[in-house]
């Protein structure tokens, strides 16, 4: 007996349920990052909201699959560097009161952002299709992950992260575009 349309519909629903569960499994990486941020950065609500947003974005990308799923791992890995740098700065007992922390952590946020942008952009130009979406989605994930650490520096830290991401990825993207045009 051939499978009926109804049984295939049931399979579709089972696939979607299973995929959603699997997509939410990205929380295994995101939640520890958010917990570190909540504990260490002194702005628990901002960190928690940021972590939830990052989890939702990553889960959505994994659930959707294809070109939306591919940049998530890279974005998270790159963002982890941007998360770690300001936290290392913070953990080494450097001054973090009366706004001094904001100023002190900016170079770390900038550096972390630049590193994340470089990593995501290098990966983006190495793939054949969907470079732009990889770059945009990967940088967004990296920015949210990095901002979990840069929240320690307040708005200035986040600004530093964004600037770093832009400056880290722009030259690589330009080089990739030139290389493609030359072919």
């Amino acid at each position: 007996m051939a499978p009926s349309e109804m049984t295939i519909d049931r399979a579709r629903r089972a696939f979607e349920r299973g995929r959603m569960r699997w997509a939410l499994g990205v929380g295994a990486y995101v939640v520890p990052m958010a917990v570190v941020s909540v504990v260490a950065c002194g702005r628990p609500w901002v960190s928690a909201a940021n972590g939830l947003l990052l989890w939702a974005l990553c889960a959505l990308g994994r659930w959707r699959g294809g070109r939306f799923a591919a940049p998530i791992g890279w974005g998270l890995a790159a963002g982890a560097a941007a998360l770690a740098l300001p936290l290392l700065f913070h953990a080494h007992g450097l001054p973090c009161a009366d706004g001094a922390c904001c100023r002190g952590s900016i170079p770390y946020c900038w550096g972390g952002g630049a590193l994340a942008g470089l990593v995501v952009a290098l990966r983006a130009i190495s793939i054949r299709e969907g470079r732009a979406s990889f770059l945009v989605y990967g940088c967004t994930v990296a920015a949210l992950a990095g901002s979990l650490g840069c929240v320690v520096g307040g708005l200035m830290g986040l600004g530093g992260l964004a600037a770093g991401l832009l400056l880290g990825s722009a030259p690589v993207v330009a080089w990739g575009a030139l290389r493609t045009a030359a072919r």
Partner: protein, 235 residues
């Protein structure tokens, strides 16, 4: 055009096999298609199920490709994957289970589990082996469920025996069945199983056991009599 006849079917399979041999279905011209155009499993010239004598090389490769697409979130691969898997899994469960309805249910449940977990599949893993492992597990579940149902067979027999009986006789039969079930519930599971197997063998459903089985049966019946006496004071 390849017809949907057996000859046409084999022809289509040979074409695809040949295409794979020279560089994969994605890159080779198949059945008059220009080279570079991919051969879709939904292609009407490639009738499904793609089986000749069971899961062959083509099935494995096609299934692996479909599973890769599913793991990547390509919903369009659900239908061809289901169409490809269904006959294979249905045959497998049909061989493992006696009743056709059970086999049908087990195949459907197994495929639902396959599709629910396909996103997690490791691309290097053999898809067919994974699917058949799930199907085998589902068959085991169905057999266990059937074995549990077997414990209630007595109730159905009592109901049948009570057909046409007076209300008093029905009540007596019901009470006796209830008493028997209570006495049986005091036995160990293996003793219960031996008694039920002997009962089934008596009804010609299963082959009779050997000496060891008869000894186990004798011990189980002694325990059942003891339980009955303890509860009801008579045999």
């Amino acid at each position: 055009m390849v017809a949907r006849s057996m000859g046409g079917h084999d022809e289509a399979l040979d074409e695809v096999d040949a295409a794979r041999d020279v560089g994969g279905a994605a890159g080779a011209g198949v059945g008059g298609r220009p080279a570079g155009e991919s051969l879709e499993l939904s292609d009407p010239r490639l009738p499904l199920p793609l089986t000749r004598t069971g899961p062959g090389r083509l099935d494995r490769a096609a299934l692996q490709a479909l599973f890769t697409r599913l793991a990547d979130g390509d919903r369009a691969a659900i239908q061809p994957a289901y169409a490809l898997l269904w006959p294979m899994v249905r045959r497998f469960t049909g061989r493992a289970l006696e009743r056709a309805e059970d086999a049908e249910d087990a195949a459907q449940e197994a495929l639902l589990k396959v599709f629910a977990r396909v996103s997690q599949i490791d691309g290097s893993r053999e898809a067919i082996a994974w699917v058949l492992a799930i199907a085998a597990w589902e068959c085991r579940t169905v057999r266990r469920r059937a074995a549990r149902r077997g414990e209630l067979d007595g109730e159905r027999l009592d109901a049948r025996a009570a057909e046409g009986a007076t209300p008093e006789q029905e009540l007596v039969a019901k009470q006796l069945a209830e008493a028997a079930r209570e006495a049986l519930s005091e036995l160990r599971p293996e003793e219960r199983r031996v008694i039920l197997e002997a009962f089934a063998a008596e009804r010609g459903r299963r082959p009779d056991g050997g000496v060891a089985f008869r000894k186990r049966l004798q011990r189980a019946l002694e325990r059942l009599r003891g339980a009955w006496r303890a509860r009801h004071g008579a045999e």
